[in-house]
């Protein structure tokens, strides 16, 4: 965990005091809603369908047990006893009262948390690979870079009123678990031919109504040159991004309209024009930030745990859970454990205050007090000894947190949709629940294998439907909720946008439609061929026929 210094703590407290004053002025009537709205949004406070909603930043998805316990307290004292983890690794409360928000922010500041830049047309909370710092396939831990960007971008005077929001993701691994290519800007730590670590920079990815895959604008940026480069990118976007049409205001549209080469040329020209005005030595600053992260004192353990192997051999349910939930740790004898927040028939990403407190206790007992939030709306215990896995699983099962479906068909991403969101055009969560119930059988899920379903309740695509192996988009059609289904999306380093299979279907028809697609895959797959590979090999058209129910039965 990054430890706040006095400056960080003061910065956050000062922001709380500012917002308290803004709320008071709003309540006494000296600020109109039009004046207050951009202020509250930059502090993560929305007005949704039923109530206000407060979005709390979980920077690059890293959370401590102490912080989660505080979130449980806030959920009980100021909300309705639960919170919702989002696809940007944040946490949302759905029922705060405006009058209580300053108190909530003070409670957050008590544990080094805030809501700064979780909304508004600014650089949003930075996201990252949930296995940052523990992944075996990692070149370098990306968290210090993510923290550097967070500090640089927080209340950046030049970039607080951009044409539109700006989302940044960071990873240090070979495999993309951070959806890098669907971000406005993404940084991947890479090595050059000389073996030096540096940054690959991608720009212009995004989902929403115009989905685009990010393009590499610098294949190798040497360390120490990141902030000037980011500044150049932001200046080009700030100056040339469209402000006349909010649907064309994201950087992806600018890059698309002028072309990646022209964009690169503008950035390089801007970079040359930037005076070395910053007194900060980036290399020294990055080193300072890296030192502010706890050093973890791992035990020296054998790579194989006899206790784990024996438990796996004697307990089939534990073995099934371990199969989907365990990720290889870079340190021998440890594992990173993904804990599903997708109980069969449950609400993706929701967690009760009781579960939060219990999970915080487990994080302290089994994972050195650290937790990660994934963009797939699950949690991770990043430092669990293999020896402890069975004991952990028993405790998780008691709290109904041991669903063995990570990466499987019922591990569904779903935005809040029209059950909460003022922008939504249809509900998402009940669709996720219906699919989850249909495919909930553990044996059947295991038989189907890795398959990602992602559901959005409107074209803004918070549920990442474009990059779901199966994507579902909820719309309104003639006064009814209607769902478009796409196929072949991919959220990894092989990022791809799914193709539409046909006309929209009703909510009731969705599970059957998904089942026709899955059945076709099961009938046509090669041995051990994952769903997405089969879709690529066979082509979307073949699945379209299955979806429409028009395929030749003999095929």
């Amino acid at each position: 965990m990054y430890k706040y210094d006095r400056f960080d703590a003061h910065f956050v407290r000062e922001r709380v005091a500012q917002f308290r004053d803004q709320v008071e002025r709003r309540l006494e009537g000296s600020l109109t809603e039009d004046e207050f709205k951009p202020l509250r949004l930059q502090n993560g406070l929305y007005l949704q369908l039923h109530a206000y909603m407060l979005r709390i930043a979980v920077p690059y998805g890293v959370l401590s047990a102490v912080q989660l316990r505080q979130l449980a307290l806030i959920a009980d004292r100021y909300d309705r006893g639960y919170g919702h983890f989002t696809t940007r690794q944040n946490l949302q409360f759905n029922w705060p009262k405006l009058v209580d928000v300053p108190e909530i922010l003070d409670l957050l500041a008590d544990v080094d948390m805030h809501c700064i830049q979780t909304s508004g047309n600014c650089i949003r909370n930075v996201t990252a690979d949930q296995f940052a710092g523990v992944a075996g396939d990692e070149i370098e831990d990306p968290r210090p870079v993510a923290e550097l960007i967070r500090q640089w971008s927080s209340h950046h005077p030049e970039f607080s009123f951009l044409p539109r929001k700006f989302k940044v993701a960071v990873s240090g691994a070979a495999h993309d678990r951070a959806l890098l290519k669907a971000h406005d800007l993404a940084i991947r730590i890479v090595r050059n031919e000389a073996g030096e670590a540096g940054y690959e920079v991608l720009v212009g990815g995004g989902l929403g109504r115009t989905p685009m895959i990010g393009k590499v604008v610098r294949d190798f940026l040497p360390k120490g040159e990141l902030l000037p480069y980011l500044e150049a990118v932001m200046r080009v976007y700030n100056a040339e991004g469209r402000r006349d049409n909010k649907y064309k205001a994201r950087i992806k549209i600018l890059v698309h309209e002028i072309g990646v080469e022209a964009f690169q040329a503008r950035v390089e020209a801007e970079l040359r024009a930037i005076e070395p005005i910053s007194p900060v030595d980036e290399t020294a600053e990055l080193a300072r930030i890296a030192e502010a992260f706890d050093t973890i004192d791992y035990a020296r353990l054998a790579p194989r745990s006899e206790r784990f192997e024996a438990a796996r051999a004697r307990d089939a349910r534990f073995a099934a859970w371990a199969q989907t939930s365990i990720f290889t740790h870079r340190v021998d004898g440890y594992a990173a454990v993904t804990v599903s927040l997708k109980p069969v028939g449950g609400v993706p990403g929701d967690m009760t205050s009781e579960q939060m407190r219990l999970f915080a206790d487990l994080a302290e007992r089994f994972s050195l007090g650290e937790i990660r939030v994934t963009h797939a709306q699950n949690l991770v215990l990043p430092h669990v000894r293999l020896d402890d896995l069975h004991a952990l699983w028993l405790e998780l099962a008691d709290a109904e947190l041991a669903t063995d479906n990570v990466g499987l068909i019922t591990d569904i991403i779903a935005c809040p949709g029209l059950d909460y969101c003022a922008l939504a055009t249809a509900r998402s969560i009940p669709i996720a629940q219906a699919i989850s119930m249909r495919f909930g059988d553990a044996v059947r899920q295991a038989e189907i294998g890795p398959l990602q379903i992602k559901i959005s309740g409107c074209i803004n695509a918070c549920g990442h439907h474009h990059v779901g192996h199966i994507g579902i988009l909820g719309l309104e059609k003639r006064g009814q909720e209607s769902y478009q289904i796409t196929l072949g999306g991919d959220a990894t380093e092989n990022a791809a946008i799914g193709e539409l299979l046909g006309p929209g279907v009703t909510a009731q028809e969705v599970p059957d439609a998904i089942e026709r697609i899955v059945d076709h895959y099961l009938a046509r797959r090669l041995a051990d061929e994952p769903f997405i590979d089969a879709v690529r090999r066979l082509g979307v058209d073949e699945f379209r026929a299955a979806f429409l129910g028009t395929q030749d039965e003999a095929a």
Partner: protein
């Protein structure tokens, strides 16, 4: 989601969120209320225009935010919004009926007009 006068299908009611709590409120004969059953129903365009003006005044006085008219159909249980979005807004999340709007009705301070 405001409905233009020309396309407005009567009858309508006035819906908003309470400024302080965010709770969904309706304009009734005694001012803003959390009780949909007590919402004032405008049966003609003149009454609907009056309601709309009331919403604008209430927003200007900082009592409520996001006030707009919604089309309803009268039922024996009271007004029922025609559009599914507004039905969900009046009942709360369909996934957690027990956490619906009435959960907070007791503490919701209906803003006075």
């Amino acid at each position: 989601m405001a409905v233009s006068t020309k396309r407005r299908l009567l009858p309508v009611i006035l819906i908003a969120n309470d400024l302080r709590s965010g709770d969904v409120v309706f304009y009734g004969d005694d001012g803003w209320t959390c009780d949909l059953g007590r919402a004032r129903v405008a049966q003609d365009h003149g009454a609907a225009d009056d309601l709309e003006a009331t919403g604008a005044r209430s927003m200007a006085r900082q009592n409520v935010v996001d006030a707009y008219l919604i089309e309803i159909e009268p039922t024996t249980d009271g007004p029922r919004p025609r559009h599914f979005r507004e039905r969900f807004k009046t009942t709360g999340p369909t996934i957690y009926p027990h956490l619906g709007r009435r959960f907070g009705a007791a503490q919701a301070a209906a803003a006075g007009e």
